[in-house]
């Protein structure tokens, strides 16, 4: 009865998803699924490095490189992740493992689960056609239920949305 797709005056939100690392994948999927749960009509536009988040098999990497503000909880305190350390072989992979373990321990959903929730709640997902061509992705590698589109497709949706985010 209160579902967004049945409400004429439902609010709506659009998100441009431009980043596909493990940490940056969270904000768009958390906001999209929560907005859908709150009866908003949600559109996500996946472009550039955000596009791989639509691949059937996710393989998100995580690196503290270029993120000097990052600290990990460690034995009651916090440990900064020096950029210099991050360029050493294996450190990126180790940081990714640490991050995934920490998320599991704290009851944080996996990106796979959030994406599934987004699909289930009818979030409209648009794959950027230009990015698909540029990086030579195939639609066959992507999950079902997505559509292809370009800037105009996004703008049409954004022009009607109450909230527009670029992440």
């Amino acid at each position: 009865m209160l579902d967004g797709d049945q409400m004429d005056n439902a609010k709506s939100m659009s998100i441009i998803v431009t980043k596909g690392s493990l940490d940056w994948a969270y904000p768009p999927f958390i906001l999209a699924t929560t907005a859908a749960a709150m009866d908003l009509n949600v559109t996500m536009f996946f472009t550039f490095y955000g596009l791989p988040l639509l691949k059937k098999k996710l393989n998100m990497k995580f690196t503290p490189l270029g993120n000097p503000a990052m600290e990990m909880p460690m034995m009651g305190g916090h440990m900064a992740m020096p950029n210099l350390l991050s360029v050493m072989p294996g450190v990126g992979g180790m940081a990714g493992m640490m991050m995934k373990n920490l998320m599991k321990k704290k009851g944080v959903a996996s990106i796979e689960d959030l994406r599934e929730a987004a699909v289930e709640s009818d979030v409209r997902m648009i794959a950027c056609q230009m990015t698909l061509d540029l990086f030579e992705y195939s639609l066959d590698d992507m999950i079902d239920g997505i559509e292809l589109g370009g800037a105009a497709t996004y703008i049409e949706s954004a022009a009607k949305s109450d909230i527009n985010l670029f992440i």
Partner: protein
């Protein structure tokens, strides 16, 4: 009017909201969903969720580290 329970303990944002929404969908108008959670952020979030969706937050309380909510489906 039926009552349903949701144990969202140990789950972090936004899972308690997503799971509550999923269960509310299966209930009939007037039914009550009782939720228990451990995420302190869920106190503000369930209030906001109900304000936005029109479901009624009948109660919001804390017992130690457990937060309890009762939501009446609109």
């Amino acid at each position: 009017m039926a009552t349903a329970q949701l144990n969202a303990e140990g789950l972090n944002c936004p899972l308690p909201i997503l799971k509550a929404k999923k269960m509310l969908k299966t209930l009939s108008p007037g039914d009550v969903l009782e939720i228990s959670a451990t995420d302190p952020g869920s106190v503000a979030d369930f209030s906001a969720f109900c304000n936005q969706t029109g479901h009624e937050l009948l109660s919001s309380s804390a017992e130690g580290d457990i937060y309890k909510f009762e939501i009446k489906r609109a």
